[in-house]
Structures are given as C-alpha cells and as structure tokens.
C-alpha cells in the first residue's frame, strides 16, 4: 500500500532542494549587490540544454552568449581606459576578452566533436554556464554601481526575456531529457526512490555544506559577507566591492547550473521551464527576508513540501496559487518585526 505522506514528503524534499539552491543564490547576490536576479531560472535551463547539445554533438548556443558578453566586456573596458587616457591598457582591455572568447569557442568546438563520458559533458556545461556569471555582472551590473534595487530588477527582467528568447532560438520549443546519473531505485523503508533523486539531495546537501564552509571559514567568503553587511566599511578594509559582486553573481549562476543538471533527468527541460523554478526559489528567498541564507534554504524546502501537500490534500488546480500566497503572511510578519530597514549602509 502506498504511504502517501511519505511519498509526498520525499517528492517535496527533492523539489525543495532545487528551490533551496535558487533561494541561496538569490540571497547571496541580493545581500552583496542589491540585485534580484529574475533571470536565475534561465541559467538552470541553459546549463541543462548545454549538456543536451554536447551529447548531441552540436555546438551549444551558450558559447555564442559567452562570446557576445565578452565582446561587450572588451568594449566597456576599452572605453573606460580610453577615458582615463591609458591607450596601451585600453588595447589590452580590448584584446584579452576577445582572445578568451576565441579560445573558449575553439575548446567548445573541439569538445562537442569528441566523445566524452556523461559526467565530463556535465562538467563542461557547468563551467561554460558559470562563465556567463562574471560576464553578466560586468555587462549588466557593474556599469550601474549605485542604482536602486528596482533598476536592477528591471535589468534582470530584460535579461530573463532575452535569455528565454535566445533559448528558444538555440534549442527550439521541445523539451529535452537527460539520462540519470545512475539507473535504478533504492528502497528507503516504505518509499522507493530513483537514484537521481538521491543524487539530487546528496549533491545539494554537499553544495550547502561547502557554501557554509566557504562563507564562515575562508577569507574570501568572509570578505563577501563584509561587503554584504556594509559596503563602505568593506572598501575601507581593502575589500573590492566590485569583485565581491562579481563573485556573488558567479556563485549564483554556478548554483543554478548545478541545479539544472540535477533536475533535468527527473523533469525534462524546455526553454521556458526555468522561470517557474526560479520564481519558487524566490518565494523561499523571501521567507528568508532576502538576507538570511539559512532561513531562505529552510523556507525553500518548505515551499517544495507545501507544493506537494497542498496539491494532494487541498486542491491540485490551485497548487501554484497556494505556493505564491505563502508570500503574504511572510511579508506581514516581517514588516511587523522589522521597524528599522537600514540594512544597506553606503
């Protein structure tokens, strides 16, 4: 006999793990830079579809995105240096991103033509997608260092629309599937779990632990936290806020790309699937007040569980509605708790 609550629990946990990676990425980026990245779901989609392209033997569209971003990087850098009247440096600023783009293209071309094990394709795809992180930061966030959160939000909405459209252009409207890391099922008491579900939970947990260690035990992580708490104080302590922002963006995109590769063998991926995943992660981030990573992760897992249980016990037709309605009580409670909102001091 099926043990329904337990099945729903593990299903909710699996989805919740993905939302947790999203929520963590959103919190990290927002606390360091004030940017809410609406396009986070697109990076989930891009990494998964990049693996699909590599397995097909075709050149993934991701490399063209990277090259376009690097060209912009080159142009921005060159203009900045010319304005500062450093001609020689301007030449170098123009050259190195273009060179990097050319090298990356040749590498990706070679890799797409070589037969490689599945995990190697995954590694390449994650690397390629994560490379979009610093590029996106340099091109979108860095040119506007002191804009309000609303401006950044509009920018990332634009990024989301652009990436969704480009995803459609590169990969078409149909869903793609990837094979699970290992085939088979494991019995945990009354519940039968696919190996992929277990891989998903294990890798997510590992990433969360690694991130905790990064932020609390390494200098680099502590520097990020310092930049999040007080930008001016961080700059006075010798921490480059720009670099911190770039690291935060890269971290978020890395988390999203890993999430994409983990979830696709279970649910398939099409060009428009990423947005809803990112949105539910955002609900988790809101539960964490966009500042507390631990509460955000717990909140995201809670969102995953609430989704499954409300679909079964309350109403499957209103499943998404109920999940997004969670935002309201959370915001009410938070607005009553916090009178002082000066968390970002310039």
């Amino acid at each position: 006999m099926l043990d329904i609550p337990l099945i729903l629990f593990f299903e909710g946990l699996t989805n919740g793990a993905i939302y947790a990676l999203m929520a963590l990425g959103l919190v990290v980026l927002y606390s360091v830079t004030g940017v809410i990245n609406v396009a986070i779901g697109e990076f989930v989609m891009i990494s998964a579809l990049t693996v699909a392209s590599l397995r097909d033997g075709s050149v993934p569209g991701t490399i063209y995105l990277l090259i376009a971003g690097l060209v912009l990087w080159a142009v921005y850098g060159a203009i900045a240096d010319l304005r500062a009247r450093r001609a020689a440096k301007a030449l170098w600023s123009l050259a190195w991103p273009l060179l990097a783009g050319a090298v990356a293209y040749l590498l990706v071309l070679a890799i797409s033509r070589t037969a490689m094990p599945y995990l190697a394709h995954i590694a390449v795809a994650i690397l390629l997608t994560t490379a979009l992180g610093p590029v996106a930061h340099r091109v979108i966030v860095q040119p506007l260092p002191r804009a309000s959160a609303l401006v950044y939000l509009i920018l990332t909405i634009g990024l989301h629309l652009a990436l969704t459209g480009l995803g459609l252009a590169f990969w078409g409207p149909q869903p793609y599937t990837l094979p699970p890391f290992s085939q088979g099922r494991l019995r945990l008491g009354p519940v039968l779990m696919d190996h992929q579900d277990i891989w998903l939970l294990a890798v997510s947990l590992l990433l969360l632990v690694l991130l905790w260690w990064f932020f609390s035990r390494t200098l680099h992580g502590k520097a990020l936290r310092a930049a999040a708490v007080n930008k001016l104080g961080a700059r006075l302590s010798g921490i480059s806020v720009v670099r911190a922002g770039r690291t935060a963006f890269t971290l978020q995109v890395f988390l999203a790309s890993v999430a994409g590769v983990l979830i696709t063998p279970i649910t398939k991926m099409a060009y428009d699937f990423g947005f809803l995943i990112g949105l539910k992660g955002f609900v988790g981030a809101i539960i964490g007040g966009l500042s507390n990573p631990l509460v955000a992760v717990i909140g995201a897992v809670f969102v995953g569980l609430a989704e499954q249980f409300s679909a079964f016990y309350i109403s499957s037709a209103y499943k998404d509605v109920l999940v997004f309605l969670l935002i309201i009580p959370v915001l009410l409670v938070r607005s009553l708790q916090h009178v002082d909102f000066e968390e970002h001091v310039e």
Partner: protein
Amino acid sequence: MTRPAVYVYTKGGKWMRRTLRIGLALLLFLTPAALAQTLRIGAAAAATGAASALGEPEANTFRMLQDQINAAGGINGIPVEIIFLDTASDTGQAVTNVNRLIQEEDVHVVICCTISANSLAIIDTVQEAGVPNISLAAAANIIEPVSERQWVFKTPQTDRLMITGIVEDMVAGGMQTLAYLAIDDAYGEGGLNELNTAIQGTDIEVVTIERYGRSDTNVTAQVLSAVTGQPDAVLIWGVVRDTALVVEELANRGYEGQVYVSHGVGNPSFLELAGEASNGVRLPIGPMIVVDELSADSEIAPVAQAYVDEYEAIYGEGTASTFGGHAWDAVKSIELAVTHAMEQGEIDWNDTEAVRTAIRDSLEAMPAFTGVGGVFDFTAEDHLGLDTRALVIVEIVDGDWTLAR
C-alpha cells in the same frame, strides 16, 4: 493655366510629361486591382510554447500548402497568400494576432487557433468583424451553439466525439471506475463536461478528478491521488508535453489499469517523450495516424496517405502528425469553398467583406469532402460535420501507433 493633378518633373517636353502622368494614373488605379486578386488567409497557431508540438506541424503544413497551391496556378488562377503569426500558446497573443490579421492584413479568412482556450477567446473578435474562422482545436463549444457562432468552423474532431469513443471502449472492456486528470484550462474543462454527459446510462463512475498546469514539471501529487482509489482506468485530458509527464509518473507509481489519453497527443514526439511508459496506452484519434493499417475501402486512406507522403518528403521521415492534418483540412475547405463561390458567381476581390461572406456561405453550402481527418460536411447546423469515420481507437505498442478498434 490649369494645374495638373500630378506634378511630374521630367526633362522631356509637354508630351513626355503628359504620357508619364497618364502612365502613373493608370498604374495607381490598376495596381490595387492586381494586388486584390489574391486570397489572403490569416493563420495563427502555437508554433512555440507549451502547445508547440501541435502548432509546429500546423505551421509547416501551411507553408507546404501555400507553395503547392501556388505552384499549381492558385485556386482557379487566384494566388493564395497564407500570413502566419505565432501565438506562442498564449491566449492574449492569439487575440492580438487575430486582430492584426483582420485589421492590418485585411485577410479574407482566418485559421485560428491551435488550442481550445485560444480558439474560444477569439470567437467574439471574428463574430464582430464578420470574418470566417476555422479553428484547429477540439472543444465542442467552439462551434456551439451555431446560432452564436455563424462565422466559426473547425476541423479537428470534437472532444465530444472522442470521449464517446473512449467510453465505448471502456464499456467494451468492462471497466467501471475512472480517474480523470486534466489540464486546468478550457480543454480540460470541456473534456470533463463531455465525459459527464457521455457516461450517463453506463456503469462508469468518475471516482477522482485532478488538475495540473500545462507547463508543470511535477505531477506526483495528482497521480498519487488518482491511483490511490485503484480505478479500472485513468483518462488524461491534455496535450503532448504534459500528458507524457503524467503517463510516465503513472508508470513510476506502478499503475496497472488501462490508461487513456486524449487526441491531443497525436504527434510522434509523444512516443519519444513518454518512452516505455506509453506501452499499452489507448487513445481516440483520426485515422491518419494509422493510415497503413486502414482497410483498402476506406475513403480517407488515400487522402491521408498522400498528405503523409507529401509532408514527410519535405520535413522528414516519421514527422507527420494529426495536427498538421487538421491544418491541411482547414486550408482544403477554404480552397473548396472559394472554388464553390466562384462557380456560383463572379467574386469582387476588391470587396473584402463580400469575399468573407461568400466564403462563409460556401463553407456551409458546398458538398461534403474527404479530408485527412475524416469526411467533412459543413452545414448551417453543424460547423464540423464529422461522423464516426473520423475516429479510430489506437493503442501504443512498442513505441508505435497500432489500430485497436
């Protein structure tokens, strides 16, 4: 000296200017007449988005037919122009597209839309504008009540026809309990209404009703709810992408009863997406999908086979689907209606309204014709005109469609 109506600057003398002015005037008067001698069909389908597995073959078929008809000299010498706009499976976009086709492109007839939700949304637009529309979606209430839908026709079998086929198959198989899982939009709703009507007088009882979103990636809760009651059969009322997900999840949960799906999965990509889980699944569908198994005296078989051959010659082996067939039927009915109208009398191609009315009236008046989806007989009371020849029960065996009944 009188001022000429058109100023023409030229080096020649007075006669040169006069000739040029007359020439220009003639050109301006003749050109609209020359341009107007075109049949403009406005097509809006979901080439992208959640229903792209249905809309893409439709778009391909439009392209193929436009080339074919024009290569054969047009309809009695009138060239055909099919203006295609993508609805992206979005209702708002569908309404915008149809408005644009009617107002800006000045089309004579519209073919829209791929899915029931969109087709229902544009009914008011085409009714008010007085433009005939042929829908490519399933819901029966797209064309009913006819008194409020004079301008709307459709070519796919209605959900009513298909559900009747499923219920008959269930009764023949002795099944009594049914779980119903559907998309949470007009298509799913229409299916439920027709199901409740069709099971009256039978022993069949619907024990569970669940809904899911068209773009959902997780349906575990709904499937669990459906299989807990251990029903004899499960009916999934959705289209390719989402149905494949539900079918897979049912297999994961070890469901052993009979799974029925809707005719919204009639695209080969469904077999790929659902994989092994699709084995044993039954569905009601147009005969085109099993054209090589149809009996020799079926009048639909040669038409369907010709379509499949032509489509696959351009777009690849094994790509033909029933959805492209619906699009083919739509364009063919327009072709036949225009031919019929031209036989009845001279058509003034300058008067768009008159052409639209003529096409609408001809669609109803013209005799029955055999299409890819069945034998169509549009009348004033029935804007679909299909009978049970348009429906077969197909079972998926080893990743291929086979005729079951």
